[in-house]
């Protein structure tokens, strides 16, 4: 095992001649410490080009078992150079040398990634639909599936806006568990007449949502409150209702699955934003119960859930006088049943 490691390291350094003279020192580091701590020391005597730095860190991420080694190294270094992806750097800049400060920064950020910190936290931002949002631990990092959830809501609300329902004072959307604010801010960004209320029970999330709203200039149409659907139900109804749409990406993982998560998720993200109790339905149930009291007639509830949930929710809506009708299950881009849409009937 060690031989393989050393050989691949050696192969790599032969491509990267300026570092060759530091090889011995590096080898020493590797053999004395465990693999996880195998951080290459910051070369002080020589400088690396962008390309060399990317390759070096890709190799190290590979050796230490960090997931997505190549992309991680590319995204981090691109971020330090002020661009989103390395592709947007011209070929000339790829062979430019990094400054000492950039080298230090690279080493600092990549070391964080070595500890399995998600890239989004390392570079402190990520893209969601058209927006670039600030990301900070432990606030939940929005997943690509949620981009589709926003698409579903947008499709309906755009129709409403078109038919003139928007002229009502209440063209409002409520989001439960806003995290970084991704859903609400995307909706506000696409629908200039919409107002939104975002709730989260975590102060970090509330702060981050406000920060993101400010930097996108959307703060005027957004209210953010520190509230918990489990305990503050009555207050939420009093303060927010009625709304035209209710949207949520609630914690929906089953508690038993929490142990099998990748370290990126498990070590860094807020468990309260992931763990939905033994059946993953704890928060979902509260939202379902609360929805009829919050929504206008024909107002819709949009949920992102685990693939085992849509059938359960459909049964739940059928089984009682909930005031909610199950409209449909939508599938995500991988073909999994991922989104539930329910509508408040026009009855009492």
């Amino acid at each position: 095992m060690w031989m393989i490691l050393r050989r691949s390291l050696y192969d790599f350094y032969t491509h990267c001649t300026p570092l060759k003279d530091r090889l011995i020192l590096h080898k020493g580091l590797c053999t004395s410490a465990g693999v996880a701590e195998c951080t290459p020391s910051l070369p002080t005597a020589c400088r690396l080009t962008v390309q060399q730095a990317v390759r070096l860190w890709t190799k190290h991420f590979q050796l230490t078992g960090v997931s997505e080694p190549r992309l991680s190294s590319q995204y981090i270094i691109a971020h330090l150079l002020g661009v989103k992806t390395l592709e947007s750097l011209g070929p000339d800049r790829l062979v430019e040398f990094l400054t000492h400060k950039q080298m230090e920064q690279t080493w600092k950020l990549c070391s964080r990634r070595l500890n399995r910190m998600p890239v989004q936290y390392v570079i402190e931002e990520w893209d969601f639909r058209d927006l670039t949002l600030k990301m900070r631990p432990p606030v939940f990092i929005p997943r690509p599936e949620t981009e589709e959830l926003v698409g579903l809501v947008l499709k309906d609300l755009q129709v409403k806006q078109g038919t003139g329902v928007s002229t009502e004072a209440n063209f409002t959307c409520l989001e439960v568990g806003c995290g970084s604010g991704a859903i609400s801010l995307s909706l506000l960004n696409s629908l200039p007449q919409l107002r939104a209320i975002a709730l989260d029970k975590n102060q970090d999330a509330v702060d981050l949502t406000i920060e993101n709203a400010n930097s996108l200039g959307l703060q005027d149409r957004l209210e953010v409150h520190l509230m918990d659907v489990l305990t503050d139900a009555d207050m939420i109804v009093r303060m927010c209702s009625p709304v035209s749409a209710l949207v949520s990406n609630p914690p929906y993982l089953f508690s038993e699955d929490m142990t099998s998560l990748e370290p990126e998720v498990c070590k860094f993200e807020d468990h309260a934003a992931l763990d939905g109790g033994s059946d993953g339905m704890q928060v979902i149930k509260h939202i379902l119960n609360l929805a009829p009291r919050l929504l206008l007639n024909q107002g819709r509830l949009y949920l992102e859930v685990d693939q085992r949930h849509p059938l359960v929710i459909q049964q739940w809506a059928k089984g009682r006088e909930s005031g909610l009708q199950y409209v449909q299950t939508c599938h995500d881009f991988t073909g999994r049943p991922r989104f539930c849409i329910l509508e408040k009937g026009s009855g009492p």
């Binding site: 997505e68 992309l71 991680s72 995204y75 989103k84 992806t85 592709e87 070929p91 000339d92 790829l94 062979v95 998600p118 890239v119 989004q120 990520w126 893209d127 969601f128 639909r129 058209d130 939940f140 990092i141 997943r143 690509p144 599936e145 981009e147 589709e148 698409g151 990406n249 914690p251 929906y252 993982l253 699955d257 998560l261 990748e262 990126e264 998720v265 993200e269 934003a273 992931l274 992102e304 685990d306 693939q307 995500d332 881009f333 991988t334 999994r336 991922r338």
Partner: protein, 436 residues
């Protein structure tokens, strides 16, 4: 026929690796369109029908000269053509006016036809008046009074200018807009023969078109960019949108050849390498739809549980169109949704170009063998660095200063405009039947 066909051929056949398939149930309601526009039903074997003037084999340099407006007007064919138009116009007018109130398809076509030719007739009449006035000044020239003579000379000049302008208007009126001329496009560049050097050149050409788009005020959105080791470009694609973008860019499709001493060459020898440019018209949502059931979307998130379980930064998207096996990929953006949208744009353009090929090849089954074997490898332009020149082989035009040309500004525009002029002239000759 030479040059325009060469262009078309590249547009369509650069992408024709996929075998023919009988998928498209397209509605081509062009019969009436042709009767209206050209006053005769579409004849698929006729060379002079502009709608389908596409697919013959090229013999470069068949047209050696770009004719001036006046030279074209001096041709009898044009004069005959204009005369025919006038006769047709007055005849149609008579027919329509005589039978009031009746409705038939024949009449409807005639009416539309009248409204189509009307502006042309207007120009022809204007031209005639001006020509008459011009002739009248001839008498004044012979006048004894020198002041009168001077005046006559000045007047003649203004008339001449006016005549020239009207003639130009008539000619541009005769050249029909192609359906796809109005659409946006997808540009694809691929390195050809020549290894790393070809890839370096591909990157330069791609940059050239990017700044060309900037220079013309077109939008340029990179869909795919696959770098090589030393900063070259294996393959890239971009979506370009803006007024006249396709009308112009279609002339850039084909094999571009570079001759120079590569950076990688140690002994100072000149190498020849190639790269290919493909230009695909980008269909609008309305004109071309894809059934979402026919698509398979592949992402890194397909395995495992997805959703909140996993956090990935690999947002690459690959879309497979199942009935045809056409694949499109995008990993340009950090947002997976954006990548998906871009991949879809690209896929649509690919499928659309296959459909176009399908249609065109149906019309030209007889010539297909010839085209299939030669069209793709036709080189259209050479960038010769030692001689500092660029030569377009389709029209035999050479310009100097390669560096300046690669900036994608005036020189490229000049070359492109000449190509457009040639193409227009050819179209015109087709309509007049001069190439028969």
């Amino acid at each position: 026929m030479a040059f325009t066909q060469a262009v078309k051929m590249h547009l369509v056949f650069c992408r024709s690796k996929i075998p023919s398939f009988q998928l498209w149930s397209t509605v081509i309601a062009q019969r009436d369109y042709h009767r209206v526009l050209y006053g005769r039903p579409q004849n698929p074997t006729s060379k002079c029908c502009p709608k389908i003037r596409a697919m013959h084999l090229t013999h470069p340099l068949m047209i050696t000269k770009l004719l001036s407006v006046d030279e074209i007007f001096a041709r009898r064919r044009l004069q005959d053509y204009l005369k025919n138009m006038e006769t047709e116009y007055s005849n149609s007018l008579k027919v329509v006016n005589n039978i009031e109130g009746q409705q038939s398809d024949e009449l409807r076509v005639k009416r539309t036809r009248i409204s189509v030719i009307a502006p042309l007739i207007q120009y022809i009449r204007e031209l005639k008046t001006k020509e008459k006035e011009f002739a009248e000044t001839e008498i004044l020239l012979k006048d004894d009074d020198p002041d009168m003579c001077k005046l006559a000379v000045i007047e003649r000049e203004t008339y001449q200018k006016a005549i020239h302008e009207i003639r130009q208007k008539i000619l541009s009126h005769l050249i029909p807009e192609e359906e796809s001329d109005m659409s946006d496009l997808i540009l694809e560049v691929t390195a050809g023969v020549g290894g790393q050097e070809a890839m370096l050149f591909t990157a330069e050409v791609f940059d050239m078109y990017q700044s060309f788009a900037g220079h013309r005020g077109w939008g340029f959105d990179i869909l795919e960019y696959m770098k090589s080791e030393i900063g070259g470009l294996r393959h890239a694609s971009a979506s370009i949108c803006g007024p006249e973008s396709y009308k112009r860019m279609k002339f850039e499709a084909g094999v571009h050849r570079v001759q120079r001493v590569p950076k990688t060459e140690k002994q100072g020898r000149v190498h020849t390498s190639t790269m290919t440019v493909a230009v695909l018209p980008q269909p609008t949502e309305i004109s071309f739809t894809i059934n979402s059931k026919d698509l398979r979307i592949e992402t890194k998130r397909a395995s495992g549980a997805g959703g909140q379980h996993v956090n990935t930064t690999d947002s690459a998207v690959r879309i497979v169109h199942l009935p045809t096996g056409v694949v499109s990929e995008c990993q340009q953006d950090r947002s997976q949704l954006k990548n998906k949208e871009k991949a879809m744009t690209f896929l649509r353009a690919k499928l659309y170009s296959i459909r176009l090929e399908e249609e065109t090849s149906k019309r030209y089954t007889a010539r297909k063998v010839q085209i299939g074997s030669k069209g793709r490898s036709e080189k259209i332009r050479t960038y010769n660095f030692p001689q500092d020149r660029i030569t377009d082989h389709r029209i035999g035009k050479t310009v100097h200063d390669v560096q300046e040309f690669l900036l994608g500004e005036e020189l490229l525009w000049e070359m492109n405009t000449t190509l457009l002029d040639f193409s227009n002239q050819e179209t015109l000759m087709d309509i007049l039947g001069e190439n028969d």
